[in-house]
């Protein structure tokens, strides 16, 4: 007997493990009859998961935490037993802002501290000349994109709430908004950075892996109550996603995976652009300059799929730093409890352990992150909007 499941997703490359699990038949092999539902907004995915229209969803990791904490919204405990992707975002800037930053930079353009300091000089000069503040686009208030942009610019002395405008934009609108000057830069996942570069309207300034070595990006999310009622089904879903992640990470399978993902009812962009992302080989400038990184997007390799509660703690710390959440031991416990390596290990046959070297956040600025001392950690940063 097969179990019917409805799973929501947003057309982004980091939904790949879920899409390939279904379209390659890995889900069917686990006895699951999955209907993937393509959605247009994170709010829709969240709400439909919350009220049970979806059994599971491709979800921004911070939304899973915010939902469990009841931040800004209905409180529905969510668990994330599988990481669909680590990293995968990039910061893209308009040609004009790129030129301005390069005009101010003192050091290597790949060094996020050098670019952040250059940005702060650009911001200061604009203020002195009476120009409008810069506008940066990101995908959602509770998103890694939001926190990665903030972390980066604040390290250079730019206050993201005072010195510029940070606005939410749906990913499909990012490129147009950059082209017509509604935003000067954005942080978004694949394929949109590459699309902007290909159209000649943007330069990729940073892969977010320049900012954080390992950042939980999207998770496979289910309601906690559902996970408790359907442990076998959940384990089957985790195994199907794991098999898909392993398939995608084999270089010889990449072109097949990219073709599956490129289908119009899945991600619906060129297979070549998708493959660039999976391979971590991106064109970063309209002049054709390429950059490779083995850390651009991790789907399953280096233990990426196994949820790490320290990552959840880091995301919670960002919510506190920027005034979205209150500091408190209970909230921290709830946040960390969203990421469930135990469910992942159980699905894999028990006894699973995090692979060596897979821990840590690896931020380019500030002290090493310690989930046990978030207040101490945040105190090390000058810019922030939290009350101890």
């Amino acid at each position: 007997m097969t179990t019917p499941l409805h799973i929501g997703f947003i057309p982004l490359v980091d939904a790949s493990a879920l899409i390939v699990a279904v379209d390659k038949g890995f889900a069917t092999a686990e006895g699951l009859d999955v209907t993937l539902v393509r959605e247009v907004s994170w709010s829709n995915v969240r709400d439909k998961l919350n009220i049970g229209r979806f059994d599971a969803a491709h979800l921004l990791a911070p939304v899973a935490i915010a939902s469990s904490l009841g931040l800004g919204h209905v409180k529905v405990p969510i668990v994330a037993p599988f990481n669909l992707g680590l990293n995968g975002n990039a910061i893209t800037v308009s040609p004009a802002l790129h030129a301005a930053i390069m005009g101010e930079i003192d050091g290597d353009a790949k060094d996020p501290m050098a670019t952040a300091l250059a940005l702060s000089r650009v911001v200061a000069k604009r203020r002195a000349s009476g120009a409008e503040p810069l506008t940066f686009g990101m995908t959602f208030p509770f998103s890694t994109h939001n926190y990665q942009l903030r972390f980066w610019m604040a390290a250079g002395g730019v206050d993201p709430d005072e010195d510029l405008r940070l606005v939410v934009l749906p990913p499909p609108y990012m490129v147009d908004s950059l082209a017509n000057g509604h935003v000067d830069a954005f942080c978004v996942g694949a394929p949109w950075n590459s699309v902007a570069v290909d159209l000649g309207v943007g330069h990729i300034l940073h892969f977010v892996s320049d900012i954080l070595v390992r950042a939980a990006e999207k998770v496979l999310a289910v309601r906690q109550s559902w996970s408790e009622k359907n442990p076998e089904v959940l384990a089957a879903l985790i195994r199907a996603a794991q098999r898909a992640a392993e398939f995608i990470e084999q270089p010889e399978n990449r072109s097949e995976a990219a073709a599956i993902l490129a289908q119009p009812e899945r991600i619906g962009v060129d297979a070549e652009v998708i493959q660039r992302t999976l391979d971590g080989r991106l064109k970063i400038s309209p002049d054709g300059t390429r950059r490779e990184s083995s850390r651009y997007l991790l789907v399953g390799r280096e233990g990426a799929a196994r949820p790490d509660p320290a990552q959840a703690a880091w995301l919670y710390a960002q919510m506190v730093r920027w005034g979205q959440a209150q500091m408190g031991p209970d909230a921290l416990k709830t946040a960390m409890g969203v990421f469930r390596p135990d469910l992942y290990d159980a699905a894999m046959g028990g006894g699973g352990k995090a692979p060596a070297g897979s821990h840590g956040i690896g931020a380019f600025a500030g002290p090493a992150f310690d989930p046990a001392d978030i207040a101490g950690h945040l105190a090390a940063f000058k810019i922030g909007h939290w009350k101890p």
Binding site: S41, S43, G323
Partner: protein
């Protein structure tokens, strides 16, 4: 309801027909201050220009995420949203998601004043999708009739049948093969295309 006490409602919808249906319903119910926004570029600024108490948006609209940032105050956000429908009323949330609409309530509006707006919104959205379904059904029925007529023409020509005989042949074939007459007609068209 006087103009002053009527809350200001902004409808964000790229479908002009659905927005008109909703706006009309709201006006009939006495909500006289209703504005429709159909342009998504710079949405936040457009919304603020009207300073609404309630914002209604359809769920097919990716710009729903743009409104979510109004839960927090920042340089880009002036008047924050206090809640999303009534958080304690899960039946309302389900009904609105199923109808395909969501409501954002700006800080300051009393809770009991939201319910009639939301209920009306849900019923108008449901009425619109029913209309849409009927339209789609009529369209496909029309298409099917065209296909049947063309298949009839082919049978009449190829087999030398009258119009009635051609129709009876298709109908009896459909019954024997447990298919719809439209499907049989489509097969005749496909076959005749292949044999051309």
């Amino acid at each position: 309801m006087s103009a002053e006490s009527s809350p200001k409602i902004v409808i964000v919808d790229e479908s002009p027909i659905r927005a008109a249906i909703l706006e009309e319903g709201l006006r009939e119910a006495g909500f006289t201050r209703v504005v429709h926004i159909s342009e998504m570029q710079g949405l936040l600024a457009r919304v603020y220009a009207h300073d609404p108490d309630v914002i209604l948006i359809d769920l097919e609209n990716p710009s729903r995420d743009v409104l979510e940032q109004m839960f927090q105050v920042s340089r880009a956000v002036r008047r924050p949203i206090a809640m999303f429908v009534d958080q304690s009323d899960s039946a309302s949330i389900q009904a609105s998601v199923d109808a395909g609409v969501s409501a954002y309530i700006v800080d300051g509006l009393k809770k009991e004043r939201i319910k009639p707006i939301l209920d009306l919104c849900i019923s108008r959205f449901n009425a619109f999708s029913k209309l849409q379904d009927e339209l789609d059904r009529t369209k496909s029925a029309l298409e099917e009739r065209k296909v049947i007529d063309r298949a009839k023409g082919i049978l009449m020509k190829v087999k030398g049948l009258t119009e009635d005989e051609a129709y009876v042949l298709m109908r009896s074939t459909a019954m024997r093969e447990k298919k719809k007459i439209g499907e049989i007609a489509q097969s005749i068209l496909t076959a005749s295309e292949l044999l051309k």
